[in-house]
Symmetry: C2
Subunit: 503 residues, 2 copies
């Protein structure tokens, strides 16, 4: 943990000296430290974030401040959160390799972490405001969730390992407390920091404060958040904590571009793939070790079609292993799995309802909206599928011991119980998704999906639709047995005109 | 925690020297250390327990061994459990004063605790085999459970305090593991250490191993045990961990006894009470401070009737504040509340079913059996009442914040939710009670309620009735909505003759 005595905030000059003093980072950045560009880019609520670029490469530097950045020194927040973020990031990197930024350096004293600079990734929420679709997102985020949640649960861990994990994150209670207050309490009562799109939503805000059925449900969810350490959660898994690239393949260096015969480019790609295929044998250390790769190359040769730019060989195609990176796990703790899954779904649904508010001409974002709802469905179904596959393949934890489910009859009963387990998790997910939605409309922290709708009435209309769905998801939970019930209800609300008592 | 390097087992001579070296204990025991009597009395499964008596007083000394006493050095068990027992005992003493033995000394290094010597208390289970009724038991055990569970739950603690508590006990996982294996796993599969009353119960044991519905329920209960840190549990709250006196008042020193007029004794008591009443004013430090006491004395004068022994004044009546002491919390950890409450109910129900096996003439234990079932009902209803009263009176925890339930409507809805909360807790309790029963009949550790029934067929008959109830409580949980459903089902099974395939 950070020793408060030696902590100091590193602004530009101090940060330059600090990084220059770490040989690996100095080499990675390259060139003269004095020439490094250092830009503060933190747009989150809590920390300082710098992008540092040198002659050779770049890094991202995140330093915790001893207070909430959004509010100021009047709201102190322990530096220890940097320790928990580092701990969570290390665990996630191990469980979901390639889906979180690579860790390059960490200082407990300074509550500072240096990470891989993510380029050309952008914050997913920004892309969604611009109606960008991310075809690789479902696969990446469901892999991240299924693996980080399953492998830190009682299904994969011994009870002793699990208790050690819970204890290791127990000290991160100040960050949990933010969630407990801002998500599970304040939006439902009068609280100084609440805000909403007035005057349109005044009536809904008052209903929220007066709705005792809702207060019971949100209190049950709060208790579950506090006292159900099912797995190591990211704890803040909204689309602002996810960075994406539009596709996982980037074509670069088009300085030879001209109008010419298409076959020139396609042939260039094919030639390069074939050379890679023939070269492969020469890289073998043991016979056959590259067979899978070679098969993939030939398959790719068959599949390559219709690419068009000049100078297109495999040296000018950059690929990343996955297009998605999950960042900022400083809220990590052992909690209910549905909180993370619900966070993703809630943020997709909010993007869906916000979309109408961003329309300049009717229907222009229709394809995007269709993709969003399809993504909602696939995030749940793919998550469930991958989680179940992990459970079926390797349940080494102390829960549901395989010796109790021997034989054909046992296997069938266990499989039915797995489905029941996922159904309970789905119900939790629906409730948490609703809670995550309502806090963004009535609580302290809002999101740009709605906030960037400039016309307040349009914004209120989008928000009111999201509120209506969220309330139903909380108090009529029985009506949402499948993810299609959720997307179906969302679709029906797409064009609903709310009646505002005010405005 | 105990430092294994300095740990040594203290047998009689070493223990005598050790205690003599602690001035407070030496004074408490009194007289020459060489004259102290030291007797090893441990009849539990894990530890050494000594009773030490000196010229003036006595103490109980408990030392953890680095292995399971019942099995031997082949089953090592960490000494740290003495640390957790001490921690739990300290907490329980604070929350339920007078209901646990007073702590006199603790050594982390030696994994050794010195406690108040409980006299004339006996292990409750022994008393129940002898058909003894304990009229004060319900009040004491429900106070113990309601207070220790409520005040360590999210209803009373902040989320931060709760997380600290969970972390403080997370290291006690080796003891939890014993429960996970011996209660939630082994009785349902072939395991070397299982045993049952063969050949009569061979068929039931096979059914248990083959019953996949039961395996699902026991696995859900196991997961709840591992991953629902609702409150600080005792963790092993059976009637072998409860010491009782037959009544809370003990009349002593009857050396003046003779046959004489009853009024002599009654008058002696009344005179002593009246003297205490008049003396009271003289002990006042501030006017009126002893008013409640004085009122109680006069009320007692009015209520005193029919006592008959010689020399009966208040100097020869010893009272304890409560007749019950809960001991041995070394399995303490943060877990589901229903596990503790279910443990008490299960052990009462087993005493009920065992009772027929102890009969020498039909019906001779009828009054006792009636008292047991009444106690089962009252343990739940009084526990629920006291728990709810604590919740209503002082819910200072982060769960169910009162600000969300303001006004008359809010108060009514919160009260309904409190009832729903208790109903969920009751369902958990029923399931855990059943699990605690089955392990005592098919697992490693049995209890004397059944074991002391010498005729194996009679024993098997009693056990089979308990098994039938326990199985129903697990797989037909919906049929047990109230505690009267449990006692009603037990009563119906009292005389049921099981059919044994073997024997």
């Amino acid at each position: 943990m950070a020793d408060a005595g030696d902590y100091r905030i590193l602004h530009e000059a101090a940060l330059r000296d600090y990084l220059a003093g770490i040989p690996d980072l100095k080499a990675l950045l390259g060139g003269e430290p004095a020439a490094w560009s250092i830009t503060e880019v933190g747009d989150g609520n809590l920390n300082l974030v710098f992008i540092v670029k040198g002659a050779r490469g770049g890094v991202a530097v995140k330093q915790a401040l001893p207070y909430v950045r959004l509010v100021g020194e009047s709201w102190p927040l322990p530096l220890s959160r940097a320790h928990y973020e580092y701990l969570a990031l290390s665990k996630q990197a191990q469980l979901a390799p390639g889906l979180v930024p690579a860790l390059l350096h960490h200082s407990e004293t300074l509550a500072l972490t240096v990470m891989e600079l993510l380029e050309p990734h952008i914050i997913m929420r920004k892309g969604m405001v611009a109606a960008t679709q991310y075809p690789g997102f479902v696969d990446d985020i469901t892999t991240f969730m299924a693996r980080t949640l399953f492998f830190t649960s009682d299904l994969a861990l011994s009870a002793a390992e699990k208790k050690q994990g819970i204890a290791a994150f127990a000290g991160n209670h100040a960050l949990c407390k933010i969630t407990e207050d801002l998500i599970f309490t304040d939006p439902y009562r009068i609280a100084e920091q609440n805000r909403w799109t007035a005057p349109y939503l005044d009536g809904l805000a008052a209903e929220l404060r007066d709705d005792m059925d809702l207060h019971v449900v949100i209190s049950r969810l709060k208790l579950k958040f506090m006292a159900s350490p099912e797995a190591l959660l990211h704890g803040d898994l909204h689309t602002g904590s996810i960075m994406v690239t539009e596709s996982q393949t980037r074509v670069i260096d088009p300085e030879f571009a001209f109008y010419g015969p298409m076959g020139f480019d396609v042939g260039a790609v094919l030639a390069n793939l074939l050379m890679a295929y023939f070269a492969s044998a020469g890289h073998e250390r043991t016979p056959g070790e590259r067979q899978a790769f070679e098969g993939w190359v030939l398959e790719t040769v068959e599949q390559v079609w219709s690419l068009d730019t000049g100078d297109l060989h495999t040296g000018s195609i950059m690929v990343t292993e996955s297009q998605t990176r999950v960042i900022d796990p400083e809220f990590a703790f052992y909690g209910p799995m549905g909180f993370d899954v619900g966070a993703v779904l809630a943020n997709l649904l909010m993007a869906y309802f916000a979309s109408a508010g961003h329309e300049r001409t009717p229907g222009e974002r229709q394809a995007f909206e269709g993709w969003v709802l399809e993504t909602v469905e696939q995030v749940w179904s793919e998550f469930a599928r991958k989680f179940l596959d992990l459970w079926r393949a390797g349940a080494t934890g102390d829960a549901y011991p395989v010796t109790l489910f021997a034989g054909e009859k046992g296997a069938a009963r266990l499989e039915a119980e797995r489905q029941a387990y996922m159904q309970r998790l789905f119900t939790d997910t629906v409730g948490f998704a609703a809670a995550k939605t309502l806090r963004r409309i009535f609580g302290l922290a809002h999101n740009i999906d709605f906030e960037l709708i400039e016309d307040p009435k349009k914004r209120a209309i989008s928000e009111a639709r999201a509120v209506r769905l969220a309330r139903a998801m909380m108090v009529e939970a029985g009506a949402f047995g499948t993810i299609a019930d959720v997307t179906g209800a969302a679709r029906k609300l797409r064009d609903r005109m709310p009646e505002f008592a005010n405005g």
